[in-house]
């Protein structure tokens, strides 16, 4: 994927009192921040409108359906739509049928801002749900915060998301990026000393969702005494990995932990295989979770033993998970749901639970309820800090015999077997 510069932080939005609003408006002009943001503050909030029970409940969503993130964006849309169908089949939300108003932001930060601004202030949707990627959720959540709309989002776990003091923001995955690797580090800790890796290499893409995972893992493993022999960040548009692979094969690390989005994960495995260097352990952040696409790109037999962490597993025994998988397969010609679809589904579950428990679409009550309660989702239980950071942990998965198994944490593991060390490339 192409370069993903991290957005310039907008001004944090506080409670919308007139004084702060005026000050913020001046600030926005001074900073040259997109003017529509300011306009957004002037619109009336949807919860102030009269509602009748016969009218459908409209949820506004902007997704990257075209452009760089169109692949995960399309999956997120499927997740939302499956949730919508399930809810409507069971009589809707608050007794009203749910209607999704999904617009395309073309993976563009400016468009996502104008999309949510329009959804909230002109279309006056009843509720909003988040978009895909930290890149887009960063500016989009600022629009929601400014308009005091509860903003639950499926894929924005970069640390910067939660440093702005937002109170309407909720990240509906079990952990933020820096904590995704915790479950892998915990697994290493359970190994007897002689089975632990002694040296490790950490190549990572310069990506807000991959790099923090690897940085945090390096820090934690160094503390355990695993020696770092290579640590490099490569730009998002890197396509050739032979040079990285030759450096790695020269240093012969026991563990290679790569912050890999997708193409880069495939590229590095291929290049390592071309050099015939197989580390004892291979961890990649999200590339191996794209099940069929990953295994067909590197060769199914080469997936054996590859570790990754993930927010959701198809086989997890979480409430409604089996139903979600079944409905997804029925809707899309037997295809297995992607993690992005499951995250979106869980995001909608969170909002549904809060709205149901609060009994209205009062945004502030929804926010307060989410801050003090735990929600059961297909990802497992989710709860949040006052900044909207989730408090759970990810799942550690491993490719075993052409299939993905959950190996940790123990309470959700689908197998007791862990492949370690990883066999040589076939």
């Amino acid at each position: 994927m192409s370069a993903r510069p991290f957005p310039v932080p907008g001004r944090p939005a506080g409670p919308d009192r007139p004084a702060t609003r005026r000050r913020r408006r001046l600030g926005a002009v001074a900073l040259g921040v997109v003017a529509v943001l300011t306009l957004a503050a002037c619109g009336s909030r949807p919860s102030e409108q009269a509602t009748s029970s016969s009218k459908p409940l409209v949820i506004g969503i902007s997704l990257p359906l075209t452009g760089d993130f169109s692949q995960p964006g399309g999956e997120a849309r499927r997740g939302y739509e499956i949730w919508q169908k399930q809810v409507n089949d069971k009589g809707g939300l608050l007794g009203r049928q749910v209607q999704l108003k999904i617009v395309d932001d073309a993976s563009n930060q400016d468009t996502v801002v104008s999309d949510y601004t329009k959804l909230i202030t002109q279309d006056k949707v009843d509720l909003v749900l988040g978009t895909f990627s930290s890149l887009l959720n960063y500016p989009a959540s600022a629009v929601a915060e400014k308009n005091q709309m509860a903003y639950v989002e499926p894929a924005g776990g970069a640390p910067n998301m939660f440093t702005r003091g937002f109170t309407y923001l909720f990240f509906a995955q079990p952990a933020t990026a820096p904590h995704q690797a915790d479950v892998f580090v915990n697994y290493i800790k359970t190994l007897p000393a002689d089975q632990r890796p002694k040296t490790a290499a950490y190549p990572t893409q310069d990506d807000p969702f991959a790099a923090p995972v690897i940085e945090s893992m390096e820090k934690q493993l160094s503390a355990l005494g695993v020696k770092t022999v290579y640590s490099q960040t490569y730009p998002a548009d890197t396509t050739n990995f032979q040079s990285i692979a030759s450096q790695l094969s020269a240093k012969k690390p026991d563990l290679i932990a790569q912050g890999a989005v997708f193409e880069d994960g495939v590229g590095l495995v291929r290049s390592l295989k071309q050099l015939n260097y197989s580390p004892k352990m291979l961890f990649q952040t999200s590339a191996p979770s794209n099940a069929g696409q990953y295994s067909s790109a590197i060769g199914t037999e080469n997936t054996e033993g590859v570790f990754y962490t993930v927010s959701w597993s198809q086989d997890a025994k979480t409430p409604q998970n089996a139903e979600f998988v079944k409905d997804y397969q029925a809707a899309y010609k037997g295809a297995d749901p992607a993690e992005d679809a499951a995250d979106a589904f869980a995001t909608a579950q969170v909002l549904q639970e809060a709205v149901t428990k609060v009994g209205s679409i009062d945004q502030t009550k929804i926010r307060d309820w989410l801050h003090s309660n735990e929600v059961q989702t297909i990802l497992g239980p989710l709860s949040w800090t006052d900044k909207g950071e989730p408090r759970g942990q990810f799942i550690l998965a491993q490719w075993q015999s052409n299939k993905v198994e959950v190996v940790a944490p123990p309470e959700v593991a689908t197998t007791q077997t862990v492949v370690n060390p990883k066999p040589d490339w076939k």
Binding site: S70, T233, P235, D237, Q242, S243, A297, I298
Partner: protein, 294 residues
Amino acid sequence: MAQLVQALVLGILIGGVYALMASGLTLIFGVMRIINIAQGAFLILVATVTWYLWRETGIDPILASVITTPMMFGLGWVLYRTVVSRIRGQSASMSVLLTFGIALVIEGILNVTSGNKFRSATPAYFEQSFTIGSIHLPKPQVYGFLAAVVVLSGLYVILTRTWTGRAIRATSQNPSAAALVGVSATGTAALAFALGAASSGVGGSILSVLYPFFPASHYDWISRLLGIVVLGGLGSLPGAMVGALVLGLAETLTATYGSLRWSTLVFYLVIMVVLLVRPQGLFGARLREDGVAA
């Protein structure tokens, strides 16, 4: 030493493939002053078609270019005759808009027909390499490079040894004089556009083996290709080759000796320095418009 040789060899192999992909872009600009933003989408279209051919028939993806090249030649011809010819004589910015539109249409069609997911052709050799001493030459990269050399030599022969090629070059150097000696401007332009599109037949086939792709991948490729042809000089085939080699070597040398972070930056830094010294690029000819503006 081995490390240096390895980096140089890899850089040249990578650069050769880039050169092939960029050749169509520079050819089309040279003759028509059209910046074909759709060239990246052409590559992805070919890669997708190649992937299906490879999966359904088992044909080697790079050999499949025997089928995709004529296909792209035809598509290029039709596109020129029906759409592109209408903006002839208009400013270059118009061509950017039009061809960007074509790119979006191709992306949309691929999205709908083949689905929005990553694909990659994996013939038996895709993760093997030749080993000479301590130097590793990845097989797909070597085959891709060889195919690129064949196609680029072919293009060179067509452009310098055939009447058609001379007509294309004449039109690119001086359209009015070429018309005066009997070269049909429209026919030549259509031919150049078709040839440029056809070059993506081999380029896209190689891409399908070397890099995973999905419909929106063309944005990455077109930005890389534009960088190459701007560095080499828009419209110059040798320029595209040199530009591509510089990019390939910048990638491998910075990855080996510096920090990976710098690899993209180094390439664009080279472009900036070259443009400061030679605004027309390494091999580019100054256009008459540039002279007026200066």
